[in-house]
Subunit: 204 residues, 2 copies
Amino acid sequence: MGVEQSEQWAEITPDAARRLVIAAVAAFAERGYHATTTRDIAGRAGMSPAALYIHYRTKEELLYRISGVGHRLALEILRRESGRDGTPAERLAAAVRAFVRWHAEHHTTARVVQYELQALGEEHYAEIVGLRRETDATVRGIIEDGVAAGDFAVPDVPGTTLAVISLCIDVARWFNSEGKRTPDEVGELYADLALRMVGYAAGR
Amino acid sequence: MGVEQSEQWAEITPDAARRLVIAAVAAFAERGYHATTTRDIAGRAGMSPAALYIHYRTKEELLYRISGVGHRLALEILRRESGRDGTPAERLAAAVRAFVRWHAEHHTTARVVQYELQALGEEHYAEIVGLRRETDATVRGIIEDGVAAGDFAVPDVPGTTLAVISLCIDVARWFNSEGKRTPDEVGELYADLALRMVGYAAGR
DNA sequence: CCGGGGGGTGAGCGGTCGCTTAGGGTACGG
DNA sequence: CCGTACCCTAAGCGACCGCTCACCCCCCGG
């Protein structure tokens, strides 16, 4: 898992900066942004407290970088799956499956990305909110397609979109890698639940 | 809303202790436990920083009291609704409707209750986790009843239970009292979504 | 062999944190 | 009228925070 976890941070260079990001994700996910000290982050990365400031101007900038990379990764997954050929039901299932699998597999990153947003500065926060709106629009697009095709029965499209995304995001909060469910299993279960939520009747 | 909000804290006496709890809930919900200072809480309650320690031994004890009252209130609502007479579908809809309405109406309290748990000390945390397990058991009981009666079609009961509760809880994160949805509307929407998730076919 | 620059460290600064302490104001029983 | 029990405050203690600074080491071109 260590190698796999570091691959998602491949775009962060040099090596020391990437080690700091990985250490920060672990610390933020475990205790939260405000309860984490810069000394703790540097210590986990095997450096002195001062080394952090060679690569990042502030602790908040570290969170911003993590949040940006994480949101872009999640959005990319969602767009790739929702853009495939297929019926709206197939596209919704694929999107939810992949989105949930990412939130489970990278639940430490996802926890930081989804639940520590409020600690961002005003400008950085506004930028991230823009990415979140795109996530919302992507899911809503699939559901609208399904309604237009007569495959889905959804009385409240924006509300149901919100609920589906909310359900997926919350996986990051409760998922435990030592639990008995694998990311694949949770993704499969949630894809089915999402289809049920939009009133898709399988096999009919 | 002020009066209504303070009513849920009626069991906290004397008055000064209750004002501190209300101030702490507002501050914790807005910035999180670790980003809130005891000076901020006391200031919101119209007292000096030292006054907090007349009524609570530590800042963590304040969180513990809030968490305890909130969890007990939410569990009480869930049990009352799930214990009514009626079909499993009616009971599930009523439970979800009321549980979600509480999370929306008291979304500041609910946010603290649901998302600041990790800041509790070890013993207090363990106690609260016990209450959460009872919440889980209550919802699972309804779903099992529905499956036994042949009204619900649920391949994975524990997983679906977890998803339904997760969906309800996450309302506290995104709900905004200045948004366009009322707590009643969200409760209604979510009751319908929960029935869909358990494979209940209305009117058939 | 030397000079310079980028990544690193030890020590520590100013500020703020959770919490404590000494004492003041007020209502009330005797 | 006094004692006293209860809330409360002003001031501040020790610890720890985010962040900085002076300096060091090591690699590399000339």
